[in-house]
Subunit: 616 residues, 2 copies
């Protein structure tokens, strides 16, 4: 075992043998490996059910426990049982589960050269220097981690498909099939990101989705692909976005573009995942009318009902781009006749680069409360994985992978505290006091990060491109459509009916809640409203004082967190990583605190009511 | 001839043959090539003078013209005569010249991988992919250009010596000698930048300048170097700056560091050029006491008189870093017992990337007026050259190379207008009206650039790292010591005795002129003073109104320049480059105008008195 980290499965300290090819075999192996430590007396029987798929039942009687289900269901049930035993949870005598969503996806943004776009855990687990290059032991470990929390689709290459990654569905198919075979025993199907203009590499003179030559090329290519990998989950596409090619080039809409690909996949049972991250990334900052968060709704909602049944539109959780806090994307609430997937980002692009502690469960809960779990039919998350010794870079970032699996299995049962606590119990087996310390740190971490970074939903005060550390005006005069328009008196953009009208994209209840300053949550007030610094918040503080307070409090939290972490009995490998990262988080938080306080003090001229140090 | 551009020597439309090895041969070749076009009747005789070196005389009598001097003097005299004939200038019957400075240097910041640090004319003329790679025809053309304006030293590699450039004085010596041989007939000597810690690559355990092993290593290495290239001009060193190694590592000062190297060079007649660009590049922006422009003075002035006689301290013209306007570096005025060189930057790092038109003669004149030509004994300039079809990228950037040569030959005779006019006459041979248009554009270009970019000597409102385009707060919270500290009421740093004390580094006359707000030139007011936006300038305008006016006027100049250029009868190759670049300059100027106006409007809340459009 190359990886000294076992994550939330410390009772599985031996690799799954390469010889096992079926989920039931894996389930049996895992049980035989773990039960002697966890419950030496317990007999566990596996009862395959030809009619079942991913669901499972765990039935206990006097003779032991029987797990029944389809092959993948049995594997999920085995992990469920082992984790419950390890965490000291008692299962009821009869316990059945069905996943809420059939597709529970991880999207890796890995490039063929081995770089990971927005990767903070090292380099790619799959590629290096323009070719496949991987350690099958690590991939099996990843398969095990995914299966243990029910994740079942892995897209292994970046949505920005850069040469030579298009070869994945061409001459790299034999190698892709090898990787698919590694993950298959874990119930994980591969997916690949494809380049919309790929036919043009092969003599087709256009990528127009309505051109029969284009359809024919994809039809043929899908036959080749599915011959190599009959259970490929499908294709993932980023089209017409941030300089990617797409149907707009040919005057076609995105339903026409997506359906063409979907029809090529259809005979093989493949899905076409179409990302809705489309906006004008060459906006003039002088343009105060165009409002980037409105773009996806404008591009997609009118097409509701026009997508084929194997198309899934994948929409980011918020309408901007994975900021620390965003309202739910209105597009997700406006396409009842379309298959939708919500996309999260486990990679901490804007949320601390897996240096700063940032547990995402609170965000999921908040967004799902507004969305409702039946609005979407799939989930995807941008991977936070890499080839670092710790696969998520920061050991605590594993809670996001773990929790995301439970969320995608069933968001209605994935509450933040139980995720944090179960993960902590399984991973570290601390005493109660230390476990509480860790769980509380995780649950507080998002709020703390939010406090020391951009205030109250304003977004985009981060260093451009890098996206770590403060640069309050960094995106202000750029082409990305991400402006706060702070001046000496006020900050924010009015996105209600009296402003850009963004709030009108929501159903009435959300529209009213956000549009009304008194009901709009504080944390989103600057998302929806332009406010003067002397605006008095519901708690009686002025906006500027709230900003100052948040910065000081956010930094103080990190200082305290460092103290608390130093007293936790972490295993040595984790301890080193964690303490190194918290020191960097402290420097980051101090920079955010001071730069933003100074920025707002220089603008507003208002002193801190509590006389704390703000540099001038 | 690969290069379709002949620059200011259009009458030399044939390459200097590789067979010529002596400046007198080259002089004869050039005369024989050009005189038939320029003065078919004129007889020109060359009279070598064994006692002379770079000076020359041109004597006219009834039989013709005699040029006398040392070999290099004769070459310079030949170019002088040809350019006078081509420009229609009449030389007096007897004309003698001596260069003011013995060293007239170009510093290339070329890396061995072929990139040029701050290069805007393509890639290196010398290196590619970690090895020598050059076109000898182009190098001879460069030699001719340099010799025609009296430049005599070429340092071919970046002062930031990155692996494998240290090999230049090791196993690359044979190839370096080949390049030296190409330039030798043009009177140009090579110089190389060296890595201060180079002995440590060869088993010496330290680079401490007082360690005898270190001295011994350099002594030996210089013997090897000078055996290969007996006329090498010397070494150029950037030590203890921006993460370069240097004597500070060993608790030694820069006199100890420089003298050690100078002693190794001394027996061979080599010079040691020691750059004084030393400051703390990891400053905390919260630190309002440390003032970066004061650093060089603090590091060097106390060492005056301690440097060996073959050491030359090379000091940038201003105390910051080649900003559009800086006061003369006080270090240059405070070391009367030290050999000094002033360093300019022809590469338009902060002055438009050879996209924007920016003729530097006005800056030279201004700085030299405060400096006095006898204060320094050498000049250096960072190269604006590259392997683009036009060697200076922008055809008009050649005026800076041309003019710099004349400046370094004798700054007392290098006035801006005559440089611009002679260059224009030689290069384009327009009619009078078009020549006037071009000359005026060149002479105005610096003022226009200054108007649309950072105001009144405030510096550093440029996009970090890239250094093209506006980012008013881009350097404000960084570690580079470059702050404007603009808030809602005021901007600038008090650098007088009541502030950081920087102005106290000057002799009394300059100190008083800059410290007194009424005598401080407007263009440097924000360099030396912190001013409120409602401060009333000598011309009656408020500071904020002056800022707004400058932005609008600077942009308007570019719009007009585009019109004027489109009517000039430029040769087609130049026309394409020039019109493409002026369109980009216009976009750049518009961005500067609007971003800075908005930035200051948001801060100050003051409307433009003339009601022009400022975005909010």
């Amino acid at each position: 075992m190359r990886d000294q980290h076992l994550y939330w499965l410390p009772f599985l300290a031996q690799d799954v043998p390469a010889e096992l090819t079926d989920p039931i075999q894996v389930a049996r192996f895992e049980l035989d490996l773990a039960l002697p430590q966890l419950a030496p007396e317990l007999q566990v029987y596996l009862a395959p059910d030809a009619d079942a798929d991913e669901g499972f039942s765990i039935l206990r009687n006097d003779n032991g426990v029987t797990i029944s289900g389809g092959p993948r269901g049995i594997l999920y049930g085995a992990y469920k049982l082992l984790m419950a035993l390890a965490a000291g949870e008692s299962l009821p005598r009869s316990h059945s589960q069905q996943p809420k969503y059939a597709l529970r996806m991880i999207n890796c943004w890995d490039n063929a050269d081995g770089d990971i776009e927005r990767g903070y855990s090292g380099r790619s687990l799959f590629f290096e220097s323009g070719r496949f290059d991987y350690d099958p032991i690590r991939l099996r470990q990843l398969g095990r981690l995914m299966a243990s929390v029910g994740l079942n689709v892995l897209c292994i290459n970046n949505v920005n498909v850069r040469n030579p990654a298009h070869r994945l569905i061409e001459d790299w198919l034999p190698e892709l099939a090898d990787v698919a075979a590694i993950f298959r025993p874990f119930g994980v199907k591969l997916m690949v990101s494809i380049d919309y203009s790929q036919p043009m590499r092969h003599g087709v003179t256009t990528a127009d989705p309505l051109d029969p030559q284009v359809q024919a090329w994809w039809n043929r290519q899908c036959e080749v692909v599915y011959q190599a990998i009959p259970d490929l989950a499908g294709f993932l596409v980023k089209a017409d976005s941030e300089h990617r090619p797409g149907p707009f080039t040919y005057g076609r809409n995105h339903a026409e573009g997506a359906n063409m690909l979907a029809r090529a996949l259809k005979p093989h049972g493949g899905k076409l995942i179409w990302r809705c991250f489309v906006y004008n990334c060459q906006q003039d900052w002088r343009d105060a009318v165009t409002d980037r968060p409105m773009a996806a709704y404008q591009h997609y909602v009118y097409l509701d009902g026009q997508f084929d049944d194997n198309v899934i539109l994948q929409v980011k959780n918020g309408p901007f781009d994975f900021q620390v806090r965003e309202p739910v994307s209105p597009t997700l609430l406006a396409m009842p006749k379309t298959n939708l997937a919500i996309e999260w980002q486990l990679a901490q692009e804007y949320t601390g680069h897996q240096i700063d502690i940032y547990a995402m469960m609170g965000m999921w809960q908040e967004v799902m409360a507004d969305l409702g779990s039946n609005t979407v039919m799939a989930m995807a998350a941008v991977s936070n994985l890499g080839n670092d010794d710790c696969i998520t870079g920061h050991p605590f970032a594993a809670v996001n992978l773990f929790g995301y699996g439970l969320l995608a299995w069933n968001p209605d049962e994935a509450d933040p505290e139980s995720i944090a606590r179960t993960w902590a119990k399984l991973t570290y087996r601390f005493g109660q006091a230390d476990e509480d310390t860790l769980v509380n740190l995780l649950l507080e971490s998002r709020g703390a990060y939010e406090k020391y970074t951009a205030p109250l939903g304003i977004c985009w005060m981060v260093v451009p491109h890098e996206h770590y550390g403060p640069s309050p005006d960094g995106y202000e005069y750029q082409a990305w459509g991400t402006y706060h328009r702070a001046n000496r008196d006020a900050i924010g953009i009015d996105r209600t009916a009296s402003g850009t009208g963004y709030a009108e994209q929501y159903p009435a209840a959300l529209r009213d809640r956000y549009s009304n300053l008194s009901t709009c949550p504080d944390e989103l007030k600057l998302w929806f409203h332009r406010l003067r610094y002397d605006y008095v918040m519901p708690d009686g503080r002025t906006l500027i004082q709230r900003i100052y307070d948040d910065k000081f409090e956010g930094y103080a939290w990190v200082e305290e967190a460092e103290q608390k972490l130093s007293s936790l009995p972490l295993p040595e490998a984790d301890r080193k990583l964690v303490m190194d990262r918290i020191a960097r988080q402290k420097r980051n938080a101090r920079e955010w605190r001071d730069v933003l306080n100074t920025f707002f003090y220089r603008l507003s001229g208002v002193e801190d009511a509590r006389g704390r140090k703000i540099y001038d």
